[in-house]
Symmetry: C2
Subunit: 401 residues, 2 copies
């Protein structure tokens, strides 16, 4: 079924976002392309996940959108933070976060960056290899270190490679080394971003069950289980509600780990990124050109002022398919707007800067240069993916309201 720009039925964009977009159109404060993020949506997502999954501390994956306004608001709500780099640690500290609530979740860290993080008070570190564990034992001696195991990534929209995590058997070997070195230990996994399959957590928790059980037989108990991310934003399809994720994970935890840990369950962490910020954001673009390769072509090319190198990197292989909106399709009850198939591309001179060609998008036949095309649920993984100056185009701007 072709994907047509269509009215929104999910409550996002919020009225606050709509009011901002209208005001900006009248006053021309921000030139396209830009992202506008409604902080209330982020707050609501945080609260909803806390309620749906009360067993876990929420560690916001800063990489999804590190806007200072978002970090400050989450600090005020008691959020914890998952960081990928030294700069993200500094961003969290600058936003007022206690270093004790920061987890250095990247399994790939320079030794000096581990030492710096430790000196700043960070006490939670990920690893998936013996060499990395060695760095942690040396530079973060009394930290809690958690070993990431491989997940299959089945059911996830964003491709999950074998880049992160090790095999189950290897994780047991490494955790025994960590335990022997006197470290507090944990395990982590990531079921894949935008995960549609609620049983994915159970499959990874089965690995945790086996490893935790073998360690318990050694007399060593895991201190922590990191449930990762994978909680969805709303793109084209209806995803299960967050309550369904919470229930599936809580049930899986009980079935897999109660027998091992009884009343002394490890600490649980969740690392939502996309879920927290995607639906909070609208990315507004302007149509630069609508063309046909031949006068009689049925399918048009629509070129926007934001492309794959300007923030829409997740259109890679057309993996994330955003909902689009134009002024011709603004609400229910309006008259029928004729649409036609389009290929959608960015503004750079790069042939690879094509957003959607295989996916059947349709846009109004009346669409013309100067019209806006809004990418909805675009608050995650957009601004920071933006290139510094590819083809001379400025990085994507963002405003939080």
């Amino acid at each position: 079924m072709p994907i047509t720009a269509r009215p929104i039925t999910t409550g996002v964009p919020t009225r606050k976002l709509e009011a901002f977009l209208r005001a900006n159109e009248q006053m021309q404060v921000l030139e396209t392309p830009f992202v506008v993020v409604d902080l209330d949506v982020v707050a609501e997502r945080y609260d909803s996940l806390r309620v749906a999954l009360p067993v876990a501390d929420v560690f916001y994956a800063v990489k999804a959108n590190p806007a200072p306004e978002i970090l400050r608001m989450l600090v005020s709500r008691g959020s914890h933070f998952d960081v990928a780099s030294p700069a993200e640690i500094d961003m969290c500290l600058a936003a007022g976060a206690d270093p004790a609530v920061i987890s250095f979740g990247n399994t790939i860290k320079k030794a000096r960056h581990i030492a710096d993080a430790y000196a700043k008070g960070v006490r939670l570190f990920a690893f998936d290899a013996e060499e990395e564990l060695g760095k942690l034992i040396e530079h973060a001696p009394d930290a809690t270190v958690f070993c990431r195991v491989l997940s299959d990534g089945e059911g996830a929209d964003w491709p999950l490679s074998r880049k992160f995590g090790c095999e189950q058997e290897e994780s047991l070997r490494l955790l025994r080394i960590a335990a022997a070195a006197g470290m507090k230990t944990g395990m982590s996994f990531h079921v894949g971003s935008q995960q549609r399959d609620l049983t994915a957590w159970d499959r990874s928790l089965e690995i945790v069950e086996h490893v935790a059980s073998a360690l318990a037989a050694d007399g060593h108990m895991l201190s922590l289980v990191n449930l990762g991310g994978g909680f969805p934003g709303i793109y084209q399809d209806n995803m299960p509600p967050i309550e369904a994720y919470g229930e599936a994970i809580t049930t899986a935890i009980a079935e897999r780990l109660c027998g091992i840990f009884g009343d002394h369950m490890p600490r649980f962490l969740a690392e939502p990124g996309r879920y927290m910020v995607a639906d909070a954001g609208v990315l507004r673009t302007e149509v630069v050109l609508v063309s046909r390769k031949h006068e009689l072509d049925f399918k048009r090319w629509v070129y926007l002022d934001c492309g794959k190198f300007g923030g829409l990197a997740e259109t890679m292989d057309e993996a994330i398919r955003y909902r689009l909106r134009t002024r011709y399709s603004s609400g229910p009850g309006q008259e029928f707007v004729p649409t036609g198939p389009v290929t959608i591309a960015g503004p750079t001179c790069d042939s690879a800067d094509v957003l959607y060609d295989k996916t059947d998008y349709e846009l109004p036949l009346a669409l013309a240069p100067g019209d806006h095309v809004d990418f909805l649920s675009a608050g995650a993984y957009t601004t920071t993916y933006s290139a510094v100056a590819f083809n001379g185009f400025a990085p994507l701007q963002q405003v939080c309201i």
Copy 2:
């Protein structure tokens, strides 16, 4: 055959680059990752193309590497410039370029950006669609406008989509509209970046021949033919020398266009980007981690501090396969260095940030964190592709020497 990091036989990196890298290692001025560019190589490439293809004015494709030092050096040598955006026009002007030597080669332009460019003195504009031509007739009335036709892109390493250019028949229709509006006209094509097939230009010139001939029958002569880019950098394979490109193109021009234009040939343009700067640059990275997913794995994972979102975007689909170099493989006459297969990945928490997995790269078994891995011929399409702050990692630095 697996690709092993190996001694260089092509004259690059130059002694000047090597001296810089050695000095930097001693004095630690620049932290990895960074690109260092030898301006002498860029100058030599410019001169070589002028000699190999004397019929054409060289318009450097600024997007390949817009470093001010490169632009200033090329201005001093008499180069012309192909720009993709208003910011690139300003960069050229800031480097001292005359607006008359600037071609606005992006077929996707906002009307106000055309007007701005025209006001600054730019008089060469690309288009490939009726709507864009309309903007040019309105906002750049006495400019030369050239219509880009589609190329098949066969023989090119970097994927060429149908994003740019129109069908032959459509180009004739559009050029007739331009001629009727009193515009000076031209045609352009792009055979695809890193083009291995020297007959590719002839195939596109055949289209030019048909269209130019039909226009000549109308009494309208094309003023300009833009031969595009496609001239190579040296990655894994030996490419034909630039002289062979010059000869193939000159011959094709004579065979295709002499009959139409006789002694009044149109102006010819060439738009080299990669060819001019790729071999001039070395991208130095540091190994962050070497790991195995299982203790007994044969293939290692090597994680570097620069990845797909830090400047190495052209590893997308493993399209551009850089020559790699480590300290274990620095020259001929040295002892045998045992190597093994690797997957090479970047430092971010993104699963898609894997550089080479399918391509058979080998790196020394002794490779360890802290070692450098140099990407050779990395002076093109690296710094500007770099993300502003993905995962908190700073954009790729560059220094020109």
